[in-house]
């Protein structure tokens, strides 16, 4: 008990030292493992099964929209964000550290059964990349873009495409809050016309495009498309690294539950947001990585027992994503389970006497 108490207090006082990992004695493998190692870059095999702390300000800055709802509730209840270091995440981090950025971007697909922690692995990787200073393009859940949309507008840019102003503006707001400094550094390379009067000149910072999209909600989806195109073109120059993190990527190739005004079903290509995202996920650019997650819980028209990439992506998706690195995520191993259980006991989350 005393050891665990020490580990937590030290973690609160000094941020990045790894002193407390020596405090945990090796003779008690059933004890709770906490690490005060809050930098994902320094996580190694030794830290597997331990929970590391993310300071709350960083959580608000890095993940304005990425975390699953239950994890956000947990953060609110315990007043701290603790993420477990697991083997699939460590694997991904080693690949990212060793990847050559002159080659085209490598695609990683995280898959696994329901509730095994794919979204949390993705968030771990996103945290690492934002610590390293990469530009993070994090789409929280692609399924939100293909279902339950209240407003569909005819796109002014291309005739047969449909816009989604609500979802696009929400995403632009979150993107702005997470990647402030990049928006000032990256400059546009072409002149873009928003309607008849407004236009963005060449050489203006990207922040202007984002503000334009937020101010004129009707052209928000086009603003998103412009942002994605600019970032893709400029990433291979090497001034910054790009990480495309998409959660629920199987939404881009399935069916949508949206309908046009004449009640005909909408296919994903007709949505501007989905079209632009598909261009991002193709690996014809270099200087970064694409990490995606499959998700069955939000997917439409797919059976609940499907979890392999082949079943969930469908034929088109699988062909488009074809050379990818699959990363399976299993359930908690006994050691991880013990540490999670110990954490909950300590935080007074398990209250029933028989549960202890």
């Amino acid at each position: 008990q005393l050891d665990r108490g020490c580990a937590l207090h030290m973690a609160a006082r000094d941020g990045l030292s790894s002193v407390s990992s020596q405090n945990v004695p090796a003779e008690k493998p059933r004890a709770v493992f906490h690490t005060s190692e809050s930098d994902p870059a320094k996580h190694t095999e030794q830290h597997e099964g331990r929970l590391y702390n993310i300071p709350l300000e960083e959580v608000k800055a890095v993940f304005p929209h990425g975390l699953p709802y239950r994890f956000q509730q947990q953060i609110q209840t315990f007043n701290e964000a603790r993420v477990m270091v697991r083997r699939p995440a460590l694997e991904l981090l080693t690949y990212l550290k060793g990847s050559n950025f002159a080659h085209p971007a490598v695609r990683y697909v995280i898959y696994g059964e329901r509730g095994t922690g794919k979204t949390m692995t993705l968030c771990h990787v996103v945290h690492y990349c934002s610590r390293q200073g990469w530009l993070v393009l994090h789409i929280p859940d692609a399924h939100l873009w293909v279902k339950n949309c209240k407003e569909l507008l005819q796109s002014s840019y291309k005739k047969d495409r449909l816009d989604q102003p609500l979802q696009a503006s929400v995403w632009l707001k979150n993107f702005k809050s997470s990647n402030e400094r990049f928006l000032q550094e990256i400059k546009t390379q072409k002149k873009y016309m928003w309607g008849k009067q407004e236009s963005t000149e060449e050489g203006r910072p990207l922040g202007e495009v984002v503000d334009q999209g937020l101010a004129r909600v009707r052209s928000a989806s086009d603003a998103v498309g412009v942002v994605l195109k600019e970032i893709k073109q400029q990433s291979h120059r090497g001034s910054f690294r790009l990480l495309v993190a998409v959660d629920g990527v199987n939404a881009l190739w399935g069916r949508t539950s949206l309908r046009k005004e004449d009640k005909s079903p909408v296919s994903p290509e007709e949505l501007t947001l989905v079209h632009n995202l598909r261009k991002m996920v193709r690996n014809d650019w270099s200087g970064g990585a694409i990490v995606t997650t499959l998700s069955q819980t939000g997917s439409l028209f797919k059976p609940s027992s499907a979890y392999t990439p082949q079943e969930l992506l469908g034929k088109d998706g699988f062909d488009t994503l074809d050379p990818f690195v699959p990363i399976p995520v299993p359930n908690y191993s006994p050691r991880e389970f013990e540490s999670c259980y110990g954490y909950y006991l300590e935080r007074k989350w398990l209250q029933h006497e028989k549960g202890q």
Binding site: Q76, T77, F78, N79, K348, W349, Q351, H352, K354, G355
Partner: protein
């Protein structure tokens, strides 16, 4: 699937089923004389069928199951049970949040266990004395009358549920409303406790008619 009949009448020789697993795990030497006789009787006599609500899990609680039965509408026990578990989780969340934000000296006073809170809140809501209508000479009088334990529990649970269903904003979810009510009742505040006090005052005011009671 066999449905148990309500008020089914068994032969009096049938015994009640024993659900707790601990009683079966005791080795033979530890049993007292009475328990050994009980076991021999059980080997001979037939036993009644266990109702589906009676479970041998450590987490089951007869009060909680009664409350779930009262909350159930049109036989949808699955929904009622899930609502109850969400309520207990909501209570636990609120209390744990308060616990972590409180300064050190107040931490022991905050109760985090939702079962304890539920039982205490129910106890606080139970009235001690009730009123019943007795007709004498054409007029009906409200006569103060003692209540049985079952009746007290029933009234407490009924008041809680009606309070949640009627007096709250339409769009709030039931677990939220219930958790709020239970926490208020735990601290002896809230509309249900007020109702109990009003009932007590009425009983006190009608003391004069207490001799109308004949039981």
């Amino acid at each position: 699937r066999l449905m148990p009949v309500r008020w089914s009448r068994y032969n009096p020789s049938y015994l009640e089923p024993e659900v707790k697993t601990e009683s079966y795990q005791k080795p033979l030497e530890e049993l007292t004389e009475e328990e050994k006789e009980q076991m021999e009787l059980k080997a001979v006599r037939p036993i009644k069928a266990a109702p589906p609500t009676l479970s041998s899990s450590v987490f089951s609680d007869p009060m909680i199951s009664k409350f779930i039965n009262m909350m159930m509408k049109s036989g949808n026990k699955v929904l009622a049970r899930s609502l109850m578990s969400q309520t207990l989780e909501a209570i636990k969340r609120k209390q744990v949040e308060k616990y972590h934000k409180a300064p050190e000296n107040e931490k022991e006073t905050i109760e985090c266990n939702p079962y304890v809170i539920f039982h205490q809140a129910l106890k606080n809501c139970q009235p001690i004395i009730g009123l019943s209508n007795i007709t004498r000479g054409g007029k009906t009088y409200q006569v103060p009358v003692p209540l049985t334990d079952n009746r007290k529990r029933f009234l407490a649970m009924k008041w809680l549920i009606t309070e949640c269903r009627e007096n709250k904003h339409r769009r709030t979810m039931m677990p939220e409303k219930l958790s709020q009510e239970l926490l208020l009742a735990f601290n002896n505040e809230g509309p249900v406790i007020k109702k109990k006090h009003i009932l007590h005052k009425m009983a006190e005011a009608n003391r004069a008619y207490a001799h109308f009671r004949w039981w």
